[in-house]
Amino acid sequence: MPIEIPKDKWPGSIRTVTIGATSAEGGTRAKTVTVGGGTTMPYLHFEAPTPNKPAIAIEIKSRKPEDWSPLLAEVWGAAMADPAQWAKKAEEAGADLLVLALTVEDSPEDAVKAVKSVLGATGLPLIVWGPGQAEKDNELLVAVAEAAKGERLVLGICEDKNYRTIVATAMANGHLVQARAPMDVNLSKQLNILISDMGMPKDRILMDPTTGALGYGMEYGYSVMERLRLAALQGDAMTQFPMIVTPGFEAWKTKEAKVGEGIPEAWGDWKARAIHWETLTALALVESGADIVVLRHPESVKRVKDAIGELVVA
C-alpha cells in the first residue's frame, strides 16, 4: 500500500548569511562560509533539500586560557599561547571557521594584533567575541572592526544591555553581528528587531538563542531553537536568522568534562566522557536547528562534522 507522506508547506524560510569576504569581495579570506536558507525543519529532505550545511567553528583565545580543561590543554599544546598557531591547528582540525575570543587583559592594540595574526595565519572566516564586559567589549570590538574593515567578520556578543556600539561599528565596517538573548523566543525576536531598526542589513545578523550543556539546561535551549525555527518557517521575519550556539563553551564548563579525579566510577573514562559531552550537546543542537556550532575539541569537531555530513545528504 503506497503511503502518502504528510508534508509541511511553510510560507517562510531562514535567511542566507555569508561570513567572510574573499579578496574579490573586499576582504582577504581564502573562502567564505554560507549558512541558513532552510525551508523545512532540519534535514527533512523529503520536503526540500538542505541548501547549506551547518558550519563548525572552533573557539580559540587571544591569550592562553588558564581555566580550560587539562584535556583541551593537552590537545592544543603550546599553540594555545599563540593565536596564529592555534588558528592554524584549528584549521587542520577541520574548522569551517574560527571564533577568536578576546580577554579582559587585552588592550585594543593587543586585540587588533591578535585578529590580524589569526587572519594572516589562516584563510578561514572569523568570528570575534569581546570578553563579555560591556565597556571592554565595545572598546576592543570597535578597534577590531575598523582594523579589519571589509572582512565580513562576525562581531559578538550583542545582548540587549549592550548592542548599539557593536552594531554601529559592524555596519560602518562591513561586518556581521551575533545577537544573543537568554533562551526566550520573544527576547530573541526583540533584540533582532532592535538591531534591524538601527539599519543593520538582515543578511548580516546571526541569532544566538543561548544554550546550556547536556545535563545543565540544554533541553531549554533545544526547545527554544525548535520554536524559533518553527516561527521562522511560519513567516515571522524577525526569527528568520541563522542560529549560532556554543556547545563547546557550555560542555567544557561542566564537571563531567572538566574533572578527572574523585568522580563517580559510573561516569567512566574521563577523556571519552568529556568528548561525548561536547559531541552529544552539539548534535542535539544541530538536530534542533543550529546553523553554526562553536566547539573546542578536535575529536568532537570530527564527529559532529561526520554527523552533519550524513544529515545533509541523506
Binding site: I3, Y220, R227, A266, G268, L283, A284, R303, V312
Partner: protein, 439 residues
Amino acid sequence: MALSGIQIYKLLPQTNCKECGFPTCLAFAMKLAAKQVELGACPYVSEESKKQLAESAAPPIRLVTLKADGNEVKVGNEVVMYRHEKTFYNKPGLFLRVKASDPDLAKKVTQADAYKVNYVGMDFSLNGYAIEADGDLTAAVKTVREVTKRPLILISNDAAALDSSLSLLAGETALIYAASESNYESLAEVAKKHKAVLAVKADTLDALADLTQKIQTKGVEDMVLDLGGKNLGDWLMRSTQVRRLALKNFRPLGYPVIFFAAQNGVEKEAVYAAQAIAKYAGFVVIDTFAPEMIYPLLVLRENLYTDPQKPIQVQPGVYEINSPKPESPVLVTTNFSITYFAVANEVEGSGLPAWLVVTDAEGMSVLTAWAAGKFDAERIAKAIKGFNVADKVSKKRLVLPGHVAVLSGEVEEELPGWEVRVGPREAVDLPAFMKQALN
C-alpha cells in the same frame, strides 16, 4: 483521531432516556468528548459503537510494555512532534546487545547489570538486554536470566529457537526481533503464543505498513517498527515520517520504533543513539558497554523527556550534609534540582560538614532565579528565618553563590548579625573554598 461530541452522539442510542444521569444523549456525548465521563454510564451502547469509540480513544502510538520479573519498560503513547508542544512521556528503553556465542556472556551481563549512575538525585541504569542468536539462543537466555531481572529482546529468525527460549520466560513480556516479509507468519505465531511483542522490519515504510497489517490479522497487537535507513539523515526522515503519520492516526505505523545504534560502526554509536533518543525512538540498542557513553546518553534522555512546563525541583529547606555541627558553615542555593545536586554532591564528596539552605526559587537555577527576581536578599532572608537556621548554628556565617556576589550587601542588611561571604562561582570549587576560606 479523537471524535467530536457530535460524532460520538451519532454512535449513541439517541433515545434520551436519561439513565446516564444526563438529560440527553447529546449532553452525554459532549461530556464523553471532553473525557469527563465513562462510556460505561450508558447501558444501551451497541457493541459496534463501543468498538468504534474504543478505537477512536486508542493512543496514536501504541503503548508497548516489556516486562520481566519486577522490571518494566514502557514506550509509545507519545502525542507530539516537539517537546514544547506538551512533553515527551515514555523514555526510550536503552538495551545492550550481547551475543549468544560469547563465552563471557554471563560476566558481561552481570557487569552491565550492576551499572547505576546518579543524576540529580535519580538513579539510572540500562533497561535490558538484546540477545543475538548467533549461537544457542535457549542456553543464552538461561544464562542471562540467571544474572539479570531486566526485560529481554531476542534477536533471531528461528521460530523454534524463539519458541523454546520464550518458554523459559513464562510470565514475562519479551520482544522478538524481527519479523520480515519472509518469516512473519511463523514469528507471529510464536509471538502470539507467548504474548511477546514483535518487531517488524521492512525496507520501505509502504512495505512496513503492509506487514504490520498482515501481522495484526494473525492476532498480534503489540508491535515495534524497525525503519531501516542507511545513515543518520535517512533514519531521521523515516522516523519523522512515521511519527507524523502515527499522530495523524495512521494505524499501520502507530507503533514504537526500535533503533540499533552501532549499525554503521561502534565509533558512530554514541551519535546515532543520541539522535534516536531525540528523534522518536522507543527502543535504542547499543553494542558497547561503556559508562562514559551510557551516562551522557541517559542524561540526554532524561533532559529531553522532562516536562518543559515543570522544572525538576527539590523541596526547599535545610539540608544537613556530612553531619554538620553548630559551627559548620551555612551555604545558600536554589531549589532547581540540577543546582541543588551540583552543590550537594560537591560538599558531600569533600567530606566537609555544612548546612545547605535551599530557598524556594520556583525551581530555577541561581542566575535564572536571580534574573527573574526569585532569588534575592529578601527571599534568602526569608528562608534563613523561616527555617530557623539561627537556632542550629553557633556561628552565623552564610555563603552565597559566587554568581550572585552583588547580593551580599543587601543580604547583610536583611540579616543583621550574620556574616555574609561570597563563595566561588562554580560548585566544583566549593571544597577548596571551604577548606581555605572558611576556617
